[in-house]
């Protein structure tokens, strides 16, 4: 369902595009992604999971998961979350046997108890039978089908140069770019999204002032003669001496910078509870993207599971966009954002503390969330039981329990990271020369702090690239960015359940019990555990 217009929406309502998905015609607007257009058309099953062929819907809407992976002939393994609509495309979900709705392989889910972690290492090793097993596995586990007549696409390269390269055009990145340019540096700012602004354009807490602040900052950046803005451009890697390949749809730009500011943000992480992969259970940021970027309603009745202030803000965002929010389920006993909770309560939203979602309940057809069972948070190490829980009817559950830094480029550049208990995430400890970090990847989450952290990093990058000559001019920003009032991530948003199906890795269909079993088998080192279970080794490479 489409919502009322919003100033920041990416869609052009005057231009409709027709496309088909699984043989049915649908209509979306120009600027929609495939997923947003399908979700607006009330399609809830958009893919089948890799191993058990369970129905899947929107999770991150940001290519941080691959629930929705499609194919149209030579266009193979397309990430529908971030791929714009193409007129008359004919999409099918990959990895199904006979269509996404009646996938014949869904019986595999029933066999789950007989397919423990690492089962194929143990069952399919005999030399004599291996060729047969291999054929079977290649049939069962492939993603898209290779089209042998795929056209050869030429992908040219070019070289680019700049003083400061800013990666990520969210609030902190924009503020870093503007500060560096004001100090005289020649700045390039890139973002993988189709438009700049990042979280500042959709994580508003129902407060449009934040949106307008970021919009104004964005306009200043675009108007600045020394800043080049490149959206839909991915900073694909970091090589020696600040050399970063920037990949867009048509070419690769080998960008040589004198200094780099990494403002790549954070990936929102799902909570773990029974049936947390049902269509309708999504990350809070995904719902905010749907509601603000594409003006699509995530659902009709929303419950929010949260362990940070972002969850309350997401609930306020839903209310601001006219969506019914019935309850906020808070994992913690207390927190420092009481005013957000009071505001929600005043607007008729029930806030439950020290509670958790024990189980998500599917509807009769099994293709959408119908209710959630709420119970007291069990102590770590014990499983929750579905008795003595309260059932709340809803078709959408938003999860907002924590963030993981998008620190890939920082790691490649040789940054040493340390775990910061106050924000429950890794933050840069010692950065290489000429590399700077700001925003969420640097452990800074409060909106004003992000802008300030961006100014600090931009200033340092300008100095490093030979502008803003002396440290004296730095004085203005040499302040310490204030510490976060509370951790934006919960240390353990995981609820064990005797009946399982509580997924940790959505790409590889890994349940909580798979990890316990792997440890029991002796793979108790984190590196071994990862490889034995294949956690984070699917197409989204550990982003969720």
């Amino acid at each position: 369902m489409r919502l009322a217009e919003h100033a920041g929406e990416w869609i052009d309502r005057t231009k409709t595009l027709d496309f088909s998905y699984e043989g049915t015609r649908y209509r979306g607007f120009a600027g929609d992604t495939i997923t947003s257009a399908l979700w607006a058309s009330e399609v809830s099953v958009l893919g089948r999971s890799f191993k058990y062929h369970r129905p899947r819907g929107v999770l991150s809407l940001a290519n941080h998961d691959v629930n929705v992976m499609l194919q149209d002939g030579a266009r193979i393994n397309v990430r529908a979350d971030v791929t714009e609509l193409i007129a008359d495309a004919n999409w099918h979900s990959v990895n199904t046997f006979g269509g996404v709705a009646g996938d014949r392989a869904r019986w595999i889910g029933k066999l789950a108890p007989f397919l423990p972690v690492g089962f194929y290492y143990k069952a399919f090793y005999s030399k004599r039978w291996f060729p047969r097993w291999e054929r079977m596995f290649r049939n069962m586990t492939g993603l898209g089908q290779v089209a042998l007549d795929a056209p050869h696409i030429r992908t040219p390269k070019r070289y680019g140069f700049c003083d400061v390269l800013v990666i990520g055009a969210g609030p902190s990145g924009l503020s870093a770019a503007l500060t560096a340019a004001e100090r005289g540096a020649d700045v390039v700012i890139v973002d993988e999204n189709a438009r700049s602004g990042g979280s500042g354009t959709y994580q508003l807490g129902g407060d449009n002032a934040r949106f307008h602040t970021v919009r104004a900052l964005d306009e200043k950046v675009r108007a600045h003669p020394r800043i080049r803005v490149q959206t839909s451009t991915l900073a694909a890697a970091y090589y020696a001496d600040h050399w970063v390949p920037l990949v867009d749809a048509t070419r690769i730009t080998k960008m040589r910078a004198k200094a780099i500011v990494v403002a790549s943000g954070a990936f929102e992480q799902p909570a773990v509870f029974r049936n947390n992969d049902l269509p309708g259970v999504m990350l809070a940021s995904a719902a905010q993207r749907l509601a603000y970027r594409y003006s699509v309603s995530p659902g009709e009745r929303v419950v929010v599971l949260t362990a940070n202030a972002d969850g309350y803000r997401a609930a306020l965002d839903m209310l601001a966009r006219g969506i019914v929010v019935t309850a906020v389920v808070e994992l913690r006993a207390s927190h420092r954002f009481g005013e957000l909770a009071h505001e929600l309560e005043a607007r008729g939203v029930e806030v439950m503390t020290s509670s958790c979602v024990v189980e998500a309940v599917p509807n009769k057809a099994g293709d959408r969330l119908a209710a959630v069972r709420i119970g007291a948070l069990p102590p770590v190490g014990t499983a929750a039981v579905s008795t003595s829980t309260r059932e709340i009817k809803c078709d959408t559950l938003l999860m907002s329990v924590g963030w993981a830094p998008a620190a890939n480029l920082l790691y490649q550049a040789g940054t040493s990271m340390r775990y910061d208990k106050t924000v429950e995430q890794f933050v840069p400890d010692r950065l290489p020369e000429g590399v700077f970090a700001c925003g969420r990847v640097n452990g800074v989450f409060s909106f004003d702090s992000k802008l300030q952290d961006g100014r600090r990093a931009g200033e340092l990058a300008a100095i490093h690239s030979g502008h803003a000559a002396s440290a004296a001019t730095f004085g203005e920003y040499a302040v310490i960015v204030p510490a976060e009032p509370e951790s934006p991530s919960h240390a353990w948003p995981i609820v064990a359940h005797a009946a399982g199906k509580n997924f940790v890795d959505f790409d590889e269909d890994l349940q909580l019990k798979d990890f316990a079993n792997a440890v029991q088998e002796g793979f108790d080192n984190i590196e071994l555990l990862k490889r034995f279970s294949t956690n984070g080794m699917g197409p989204s490479q550990g982003k969720h």
């Binding site: 090589y239 020696a240 001496d241 040589r256």
Partner: protein, 85 residues
């Protein structure tokens, strides 16, 4: 890709350069013992650390000496032979 500074042409990508071996003092062939001479001809010190090496900027055929820290993968300085400051 790394950047190396040619003493004549300035900073260039390292693909334009070739490495020509460690710089070592030639012992006097007339007086050197066989051991010293064999060591000079055949033996190279591969231990990581600060090295003095011959490099050549191939497009301009500029031969020069580079001091590199091979442990930290860093070029410390480059200069033409005999122009060491």
């Amino acid at each position: 890709m790394k950047i190396m500074t040619c003493p004549v042409n300035g900073a260039r990508p390292v693909s334009e350069f070739t490495y020509w071996g460690e710089l070592s003092e030639m012992p006097d062939p007339a007086t050197a013992t066989d051991d010293t001479w064999a060591d000079y001809v055949f033996c190279r010190n591969g231990a990581a650390g600060i090295k003095k090496e011959w490099w050549c900027h191939t497009p301009s055929n500029t031969w020069f000496i580079a001091e590199r820290d091979t442990a930290k993968d860093r070029v410390i300085r480059t200069y033409l032979n005999g122009e060491e400051a």
